[in-house]
Symmetry: D2
Subunit: 328 residues, 4 copies
């Protein structure tokens, strides 16, 4: 439930307004140099409060390595990483103590657990991704040593595709007390052929699960994704010559196994559900109420989801690389 991966396993914990967020990484090889400086810059990319497009919460997100390192190198023991919460304003959420915010996990968590941690979404908050990004930074270091890079980019926000239009669109939504969705694309370069396992451990299945497991993601496509629905087989097959493939419509994965081409993943990100605009909802007693969500929220979560999605792809690939070593 809170563990991801099979060989390079991460277990995360922590809530938006709790004491801390953290992750235990199990399965990292011994002997690798690792320090805060490998992780902090990547965490900083995810950090809120860097621009007017983002939430105003100002967390320093200082990483502390609690275990697994001796004299600057990994020992094979589990690596525990901790980030303390600092800028917590739970009072912002007091009004929400018993109200379900539309588009949020409030109502489903309550149905599931019969309890509510209303402070900033608790465990369902996007702040949980701090732990993923910290673990992803370690995965990326491993990948880099093997010549694999993972990078993401914003493809589209609310129908706009250029940086300038996107910024305008986000600010307009913010102004209007609203929010907007979009699409991001994550690409892994340098990945060897052979990763992924038939039939339930397919690389694309693992990636899809990893991406859809990020809050706000509602769609995942590999390569041409949903566009395949309008293609002929003769247009969609990646033909081959002795030099390799002539195209990469498949997004680097055939039959669930990496082909050696770039792995290309797109994700659809819904508009942030926290909006100032008045919405209808109900409280835990069944009363109908109107809600206008205050607090410090991103009017568009796409930019901040990019480093999270990169982390998840890095984690999947690292896990598959270890898996693959078993059978060689």
């Amino acid at each position: 439930m809170n563990t991801f991966g099979k060989n390079f396993k991460i277990t995360t914990f922590g809530e938006s307004h709790g004491k801390a967020l953290g992750v235990v990484i199990d399965g990292c090889q011994a002997g690798m140099e690792l320090s805060d400086t490998d992780i902090q810059p990547i965490l900083d990319r995810r950090r809120p409060g860097k621009s007017p497009l983002e939430s105003g919460r100002t967390e320093k997100d200082r990483i502390e390595i609690l275990s697994g390192i001796f004299e600057g190198r990994t020992t094979g023991a589990p690596i525990a990483l901790l980030v303390r919460n600092e800028d917590v304003r739970s009072e912002d959420y007091e009004a929400l103590r018993s109200v379900f915010r539309p588009g949020h996990a409030d109502v489903t968590y309550y149905e599931k657990y019969g309890i509510r941690d209303h402070r900033g979404g608790g465990r369902s908050s996007g702040r949980e991704t701090v732990a993923r990004v910290a673990a992803g930074a370690v995965a990326m270091k491993i990948l880099k040593e093997k010549g694999i890079t993972v990078t993401g980019r914003i493809v589209e926000v609310h129908g706009k595709t250029t940086p300038k239009d996107i910024e305008k669109e986000i600010l307009a939504a913010k102004e209007a007390g609203d929010s907007v969705g979009g699409i991001a694309e994550i690409t892994a370069k340098g990945c060897p052929a052979g990763l992924g396992d038939p039939v339930f451990g397919k690389l694309d299945a693992l990636i899809a699960g990893a991406m859809m497991g990020i809050g706000a993601v509602k769609g995942v496509g590999i390569g041409d994704g949903f566009a395949v629905a309008e293609k002929f087989g003769s247009e969609n097959n990646d033909q081959m010559t002795s030099d390799g493939f002539l195209s990469n419509y498949a997004g680097g994965i055939l039959g669930g196994i990496s082909s050696g081409q770039d792995i290309v993943v797109r994700i659809a990100v819904k508009p942030t559900p926290s909006i100032a605009k008045v919405q209808q909802t109900r409280d835990i007693h069944g009363n109908e109420v109107e809600i206008s969500v205050k607090g410090r929220h991103d009017p568009c979560i796409v930019p901040r989801i990019v480093p999270v999605a990169e982390a998840m792809l890095a984690l999947v690939l690292t896990d598959c690389l270890l898996e693959q070593k078993k059978y060689r």
Copy 2:
């Protein structure tokens, strides 16, 4: 790798042109009536050779229950199901012994395993899904007892949306030695709120992994899926009254947990890669060759993927129902 699920676990085996396909189901409750007649009709829906739109391979797909049943009821012991292959024409594939078919797993399996089972795709064949559908039939029986139904439908084939247009489109592609892709939608009705686990066991993450793990699926969307990218938050949030939700853009899942609304999943299915049209490719020695794939293939796999996707959704939901019982 060949096991799916955590509580209601299935382990499948078998190849397209091997002796048999089968599945071991582990975690089915004791005391449930179960016989061939619960499984055979559902397997028959997946069976090829029922119309000119489908592969001409004529398998009876007779199910044999090998274990786990005593006097007509499940005992809690693992249930092994077996389907023997009958209409195997491996000679059709002799010409492909060393050639990689474009769009197929041939090349990636070879990279991974250093060996090729060229007969009908071996383990990477769609025929592997017989075992999933058989297991799914058992899952559906469990779901039915809880008032949950899972049904799928074809949404679109190559841009067409009406049955008549779709049939015409498929036959035209077949005529042209080509194939077409499309979109299917699977819906679960009657699902209780509370299924799915934060943060990596989200219901949508499990569904996305399950769907993308079906061969030929290249995209998965929950609820509005990729359409969220062009929406405002105020358009996308499902507002609530005391009677429940006013809409279901979320596809029945909020924060990774079922809301009690219909669960709605769409999958994008690529055009069948096996086409008669001549394509460029290479063989295992690196020589460039031209290929025209013969054999008995579906010109569009969307109709036959529907029962498989239903089975996978049924398996995910059954697994989550058991998971949920632990914490009640």
Copy 3:
């Protein structure tokens, strides 16, 4: 529950008096030669009816390989092995339909599942181990290629330690309508140092779980086992020179990780619970009854447990070898 192992995973199914017993092996490397002749001789060692010391049930235990092999070699796909039951005399058990045999799983299975498969113990029968031994044969083939051998021997039966005394003791117990327990020892030679994982995946923890998971085993010791309780540290530590260890009291495992010395495991096997002697018991309705267990039973199960324990140790070691490859 019915799956063992993490990398070299086996999933077993089948009951004593059902149609068949079987196992699916997932995680066997591709390209290894494998045929019936690798498995049948090892199954034959476990087979009943070979001497007057054993159960009179005469099963041929013919192995059928259903999948995973192509042209005589493993493909990386799951290997399914099947053994059909033949000499089933369920009528022997009719009298036991509602009576709980002392020392058997009858009463606990009934408590757990609320259902009884009274025919020969169903899934709780020792016959279930056919599937383990078949899978173990494949593991042993892998180990052999790496120079590792696994062999077991009877150490003691009812206090006797020489073959002649043991045989006399078993026949005397049989004559008296009784049964006897004993101790077996399993040794793995040629195992490399470094297998096993701190802290919960310790090699000795895995072995202990594997051995105690064999029906009738009530105790497991590694190296000196329970004898350590009466030793000084200075007597128990295996001192080292530059040539290696001066002793092997530890049984080849230190801190849960193999040391490169022989791995030595002892198991305590209880007397067969099925005895002709009259015993007090109750039936499923709570009535008190006397029971004298008829049927074809081994008066001492130690000899027949040896191949099963060998198989389990082979499975653990194969699994750990694959695990270890990930981090090298």
Copy 4:
């Protein structure tokens, strides 16, 4: 590797001389009251430095709950527990930087990881069990609510069985620069029938794995354990009347499933390997050296292993209780 359990899952981290030890508990039900005061007293029982029989290291072992609790109750989110190390004297170990201590994991860790954390054994230290005991305290709270108690006792130390003799034996060994082994027994009372799963998830298999996974444990017996080897079936079977069982030789487990009787487990604990007596060994360069292990060590680890073994049994039972709920 560092995760234990399937439903009530714990993941531990930390080293003897690192910054901290900790555990993440995943799968604890929501709504249970939980605070430091449930955990601290149980941790204190394990704490060193309480008597002359124990190591002189004086750790306060203050527990900090980092996540998973809101307003005094569990939320269903993972519970992270942290204990900072305080009394670390790594300089004691400087002399051991390159020497392998006999009976310790030093040599096998080095073989496995190619790296050495020589400070107090690093991850292989008994100090790692702080995290297990903390998690076990949470498990015990859950068990208590169901009327289940887990208690351990020292059965024997170096052949002595009375407290006074045992104390004398331990002090004598300490005086002599030596150490002694012994046997402990852990009993669970109030456990319902039906826990444990055939065939590889047998309750006794899980217990054996859990116990053998504690450093220094070399043998595990259930009920009569190794004594079964000298018994007749007629002496060993627990006969039944309508009131229940007439004896409990089986230790509360039949066919791997709990019978409702007390669960009785014995473990054999080796003499502490760290002794002042001079021993032969080698260093990482292959040189032969003599060693006399200084530092603050327990001359007999049996008393301090009792709370750890209780914790492990509590964890296994809690896990099985959750597992069992799935099928009811």
